[in-house]
């Protein structure tokens, strides 16, 4: 699997996701500066977390117009897997690769803590190592994580199996919602389920020293599907 991580000015999880990917693939990961419009042949493009352009104006808004994003959109259309984590998710919605938008958390405060998310779809390049309905414990760390879309868009996402993860209280427990997201949504796919955006940070849960390694399942899924 040939993977690249895009670095925007203000990205701050680029190294973390590179480490997690390299741990899963045992192959070097390509780091791409946002100003580069030319990309080599790739199986996976990751837009990492952070505060691209300081989250000024709207999170992800300015990065969505970076030179590299034209190419990312093109590759996504060709079916190359694209993963956006946290700020990467915000960038994907701003770039129109995923529906909806991410608003400031309902509580208007930054939230950093572990959450549980239920895997809604297991037959995808991102989640094939998980059972549908299984629950992962992964940290979130964001200020603007409230997923919003019009009711008809949400209905369509649910109908077409494009909801990837939902917040919940734990393995055998009811729903949860740390940030006010519509229908407890923590992550969504594009129609082809080759583009995923999610607010939780799987790369911060890949090592027992992190206090949990549930995030590995995502990276293992990618290896299984793309290697």
């Amino acid at each position: 699997m040939k993977a690249a991580v895009v670095v925007f000015p203000g990205s701050n999880c680029d190294r973390d996701v590179k480490v997690a990917l390299e741990q899963a693939t045992s192959k070097p990961v390509h780091m791409v500066w946002h100003g580069e419009a030319e990309l080599p042949k790739l199986d996976l493009i990751v837009l990492p977390g952070g505060f691209s352009y300081g989250d000024y104006l709207r999170s992800g808004a300015m990065a969505a117009h970076s030179p590299v994003m034209g190419t990312v959109v093109e590759r996504a259309k060709q079916g190359v897997a694209v993963l956006g984590i946290c700020n990467g998710f915000q960038i994907l919605t701003e770039a129109g690769l995923l529906p909806g938008a991410l608003l400031p958390n309902a509580g208007l405060k930054f939230i950093c803590r572990d959450v549980h998310v239920r895997v809604e779809q297991s037959q995808t390049v991102f989640t094939n190592a998980c059972e549908a309905g299984s629950v992962l414990r992964i940290p979130i760390a964001h200020h603007d994580g409230q997923y919003f879309a019009d009711a008809d868009v949400l209905d369509r996402l649910e109908g077409e199996g494009q909801v990837a993860f939902r917040y919940c209280q734990g393995p055998a427990a009811g729903p949860a919602n740390p940030n006010g997201s519509a229908r407890d949504i923590a992550g969504v796919f594009n129609a082809g389920r080759t583009v995923l955006g999610l607010m939780p940070h799987p790369e911060r849960a890949v090592d027992p020293l992190h206090g949990g390694s549930d995030g590995r399942a995502l990276f293992q899924s990618l290896v299984a599907a793309l290697a």
Binding site: P9, G10, F51, G54
Partner: protein, 737 residues
């Protein structure tokens, strides 16, 4: 000599000097050292360099008393930050700094720029910042301003640290009416560097280019350095326009750009522009290198038109650095800074004149001998009075069930959970956080290794108020103890000395005695000071803050596989108390919260006992015998036990029947250990020969805390009390945040 000013500027009279915070005799000294009257820009430069903040004129003689050396100290006080060896050629670089006055005036921006400033101190040394901590003191929760200050400061620290992507992993937060008019916001940054690639600030190389990088200069924070050295009074409102706004996005770019340039051999010396901006950075770099410096202020990138020499020299715009480059390295620097869209300009040269010369509009605007600015700066041996150890006070304990007392303590401002704060800080970014807030010390992995750094801040200002020498000793000892409790070898500390006006002998006495206490503990525990910061004049209308020598401690875990945390891990584990005491309730949280007063002497600190107990605990952890350990601090034994139960989500059945003094006394040098029955037994058997006092208190079991003779308190009830206070308090927020 005629010097060019932007506008027609007033002459530098003693009255104008006084407005700049220079006393009459200081102005006379200035004129003597200079041999003529200064112009306005020169006066501003002198006032900034001779301010308490930059010159340490009142504290210098005392700071010299602190032990600063150990074989593992790579760089002690004097540089932008201290550095200690952590093996494999790596060093940990750290420092703590105050941003008290700005945070009181504008809590969000004040706290945010405080974080920005301390980050720069650390990456200036060539270290990548890997963790932030913060020590916060607020006034009485009932005071009209407190809630607004708490919300704003916490949001500001998070807003800055989260954006730059450095995890905020720990700190402390407490409340006391003495901080009503003067809150304390102390921020600490820890960075990681190669020992061979540290960068220092002494300028060198006649003719070498002086290069400015980062944000453009605006009229921000002019007077900031002098403000930090003047007491607050009624018209501090008028000082408001001096507030700076932080830009963490630019700081993040500046970190990356500087580290990229530092990986080349372009840099001779580097210094961040902190208080007094271009003035202090250029003067300090030149003075340290024993050279002169010439600046062309027309080349300084400015944000606004028509800035005078005075304004450019004294602006405290954030996110800026000054570098001396090797000749010919300018182009490489320009390339890197252009990539990160940051300003980069050659603004001067190193000279052999020993003078600071600055030109504006092509004409000399400032021409000063550096010796006058630095060596001639005043140094004061201010009069001070020692505070005697208070007489013991009789303490009549309350007629309340022990469990009820515990719930009240857990639900109090100082002892309640700080989760509401920590959750607003990104503590997991960089994916190396092993333990964050809640335990005795935070732990971050040294990236790519199995080593860890243990970090914390610590101080108990009420003890320092009661008896400064004991308080200073206690702060260092507790920092050391918290590191031992997680299994780390304590390496060194940074400090942030927050006091009232040094012009009052009793305040100066608090400062002197706290330093002496710290010195004793540093020596006894082999725990040197490698960096620090002094913030004086934290008082309003004669009401000073509690003496607050905040200590930032750093320790090394050689193997992250061998560490301890305070969370109970196994039902059946036996709880042991290491160390003992008579149950010292004077100056305790029990006395304050339950009996309603603060009186008597603080708990004594036995430094050799402290050392024995700490080394014992560390050995157990290193040998893999112990993974559950907690130091006993404010609130005493029962509060510490409750914290262990809550963290592990496991109850405790106590088999000891004792009174309030036993459960809530704040005797020093103690740890709680939890380990399986057999291990506990053999430890108990061997303790006497090791000269240690170990006592069995009970064991981990069930889902309640049970005291003998009292109804069990469910974990749920404990948790509600512990987690309840701060969120409920801030929810009453009616003020802007």
């Amino acid at each position: 000599m005629s010097l060019a000013g932007e506008r027609r500027e007033p002459p530098a009279t003693p009255a104008l000097a006084a407005e700049h915070g220079l006393k009459g005799e200081e102005f006379a000294r200035l004129v003597r050292a200079l041999g003529r009257q200064p112009n306005l820009a020169e006066l501003g430069i002198f006032a900034a360099m001779w301010s308490e903040h930059c010159s340490y004129k009142s504290s210098k003689v005392w700071l010299k008393r602190l032990p600063t050396k150990a074989p593992w100290v790579v760089c002690g006080p004097g540089e932008n930050a201290g550095a200690v060896d952590i093996g494999d050629g790596q060093v940990a670089v750290f420092k703590m700094e105050s941003h008290n006055h700005p945070s009181f005036i504008e809590p969000y921006q004040g706290a945010a720029t405080g974080v920005g400033g301390i980050l720069r101190d650390v990456f200036t040394m060539g270290a990548r910042p890997i963790a932030n901590l913060n020590a916060l003191r607020f006034g009485d929760p009932a005071h009209a301003k407190t809630r607004h200050l708490v919300s704003g400061v916490v949001a500001g620290i998070g807003g800055y640290g989260n954006c730059v992507g450095v995890p905020t992993v720990g700190g402390e937060c407490s409340f006391h009416p003495a901080y009503n008019g003067n809150i304390l916001v102390n921020a600490m940054t820890v960075g990681l560097a190669e020992g061979k690639r540290l960068f220092f600030s002494a300028a060198a190389g006649i003719g070498n280019p002086v290069v400015y990088v980062g944000s453009k200069t605006g009229r921000d924070g002019i007077h900031g350095a002098t403000m930090a050295s003047a007491e607050f009074d009624e018209d501090s409102e008028a000082k408001r326009p001096t507030v700076q706004v932080g830009d963490p996005f630019t700081e993040k770019l500046l970190i990356e750009a500087c580290l990229e340039l530092m990986a080349t051999d372009a840099i001779v010396a580097v210094q961040d522009m902190g208080a007094a901006g271009l003035t202090s950075s250029s003067v300090e770099m030149a003075a340290k290198g024993g050279v002169g410096i010439e600046l062309d202020l027309d080349a300084v990138p400015t944000r606004e038109a028509g800035m005078s020499a005075y304004e450019i020299m004294l602006s405290e715009s954030q996110e800026r650095m000054l570098m001396i480059l090797r000749p010919g390295a300018e182009a490489a620097a320009q390339r890197i800074f252009a990539k990160w869209e940051l300003a980069c300009a050659v603004i001067g040269r190193i000279t052999n004149t020993g003078r600071l010369v600055a030109r504006r509009h092509g004409k000399p605007a400032v021409d000063l001998p550096l010796a006058a600015l630095v060596e001639a700066a005043p140094v004061y041996e201010r009069p001070w009075t020692a505070a005697p150890l208070p007489q013991p006070v009789p303490i009549r304990v309350a007629a309340l069930p022990t469990g009820q007392v515990l719930l009240r303590l857990l639900n109090s401002p100082d002892l309640g959970s700080k989760r509401w704060i920590c959750q607003q800080y990104d503590h997991t970014v960089m994916a190396d956080t092993v333990a964050s807030a809640g335990g005795d010390a935070a732990i971050v992995r040294v990236h790519g290794t199995t080593k860890g750094l243990a970090l914390l801040t610590e101080c108990t200002p009420r003890y320092c108020q009661a008896h400064p020498r004991t308080g200073g000793r206690q702060a260092v000892a507790e920092a050391w103890r918290n590191l031992c409790a997680v299994g780390a070898r304590p390496l060194a500390i940074t400090d942030c000395m927050n006091f009232g006006s040094p012009e009052r002998p009793e305040v100066m006495g608090q400062f002197a005695e706290c330093i002496e206490g710290m010195r004793e503990a540093c020596l006894a525990l082999d725990f040197p000071v490698v960096s620090g910061n002094v913030s004086l004049y934290n008082e309003t209308n004669g009401n000073a803050v509690l003496p607050t020598p905040a200590i930032g401690g750093v320790g090394l875990l050689a193997d992250l596989g061998r560490r301890a945390s305070h969370a109970l891990k196994r039902a059946g584990d036996v709880l042991l108390l290491l160390g003992e005491g008579p149950g010292h309730l004077a100056q305790s949280q029990y006395q304050r919260l339950i009996l309603g007063h603060e009186a008597g002497p603080p708990p004594p600190v036995d430094l050799s006992g402290e050392r024995r107990a700490g080394e014992f605990v560390r050995r157990l952890i290193a040998e893999g015998q112990l993974d559950t350990c907690h130091d006993v601090s404010e609130g005493g034994l029962l509060v510490a036990l409750a914290e262990m139960a809550l963290a592990g989500n496991l109850g405790i059945a106590l088999t000891t029947a004792e009174g309030h003094a036993f459960w809530f006394g704040e005797d020093q040098g103690r740890y709680l250990l939890a380990l399986p029955e057999a291990a506990a037994d053999s430890l108990l058997a061997g303790a006497e020969t090791a000269g240690l006092r170990l006592r069995r208190l009970g064991s981990a079991a069930g889902d309640a805390l049970t005291l003998r003779g009292e109804p069990p308190i469910s974990l749920q009830t404990l948790r509600k009390a512990h987690e309840g206070w701060l969120p409920a308090y801030v929810a009453g927020d009616t003020d802007k945040g």
